[in-house]
Symmetry: C2
Subunit: 187 residues, 2 copies
């Protein structure tokens, strides 16, 4: 299974590193998708640097089984780009797993997907989400259909475990029954 | 007349510097209000450093004639703090001028003031505002009752002029008729 991780400048260092490493340790390929292929992306805490494996022009959601959206300043930079927003929409339309942490849900907001959904986020984003008609829970991990969301770096262990658990469940069953093309089929 | 400028780490350098200098040149006192008095605040582009003149605990909206909210990462940091959000609410309740640029309207969002209002902001924030029930105009300066809003550094000359013009109008007339205590009295 392949995971797309959308990343821009100023990501929160651990919100990329921890789930990225956990997913790779669990045997998944994780592609870092940036605005430009090969661009060096830096975490705003100065601890992490990573090159984008592919540009947004080179990929489509159909190539991947799940989407990971780390937080920090990255999601607000990425959502300037309509291609990034459309990429997120495609994952949701096909019912594929979307995992977003901290400011990550700003991309879900930009894709106009949050109204009527249940999720969590960084505390300031929680309030934005409520004003857009989402149901917000202030807890480490919130699952709603194909979404897994978390609030902050302290939640990353639980966030990463929830993603791996969900992928393993998907791998064991739903994927074999045609999950990628069935909206809402992801439990 | 005294202006409060709320500022946190990672402000957009020019969005502080240009209106700050213009207001001082026009003869206004501008106090930089931070979470802590004396804290050194840095612009994210590394061009500006400024010490907070006062902490949010030392001030109330009644002490000031207008509020300036520069953008960058500063507004999202400030809105974590309920005292900052309450300070913004007090300005609006008393009908005093609020001038916000770029990500500055994130503080207006956090104060739950945007529904039904007309404003502009940084392009990603424009979309958030629309989803919260605001009317958004994509133009350099938008005036709505006591609010003046702009989108980005390129708008700063027009933004600064609009603030000075508004303060001069207020100084000439409305203020003498008791504007600070009359909600909505600002034209």
């Amino acid at each position: 299974m392949k995971i797309a991780c959308v990343l821009g400048q100023g990501f929160e260092d651990s919100e990329f590193r921890i789930p990225y490493d956990r997913l790779r340790e669990a045997g998944y390929q994780v592609d870092v998708i940036g605005v430009k292929a090969g661009e060096e992306l830096k975490g705003y805490k100065g601890k992490e640097k990573v090159k984008a494996d592919k540009s947004i022009d080179q990929v489509k959601a159909a190539d991947y089984d799940a989407l990971l959206i780390p937080g920090g300043q990255s999601p607000d930079h990425l959502r300037v780009d309509k291609r990034m927003v459309d990429f997120v929409k495609q994952f949701d339309q096909s019912g594929k797993l979307i995992a977003a942490v901290c400011h990550g849900p700003q991309l879900l907001m930009a894709a106009h997907l949050v109204k009527g959904r249940t999720l969590t986020a960084w505390q300031t984003i929680q309030d934005d989400l409520q004003q857009m008609g989402a149901t917000v829970k202030d807890q480490p991990v919130v699952k709603d259909r194909n979404w897994i969301t978390s609030r902050k770096p302290e939640d990353l262990d639980q966030f990463s475990s929830a993603i791996v658990d969900e992928l393993e469940r998907g791998d064991a069953g739903i994927r074999d029954t045609g999950r990628p093309s069935q909206p809402g089929a992801h439990p």
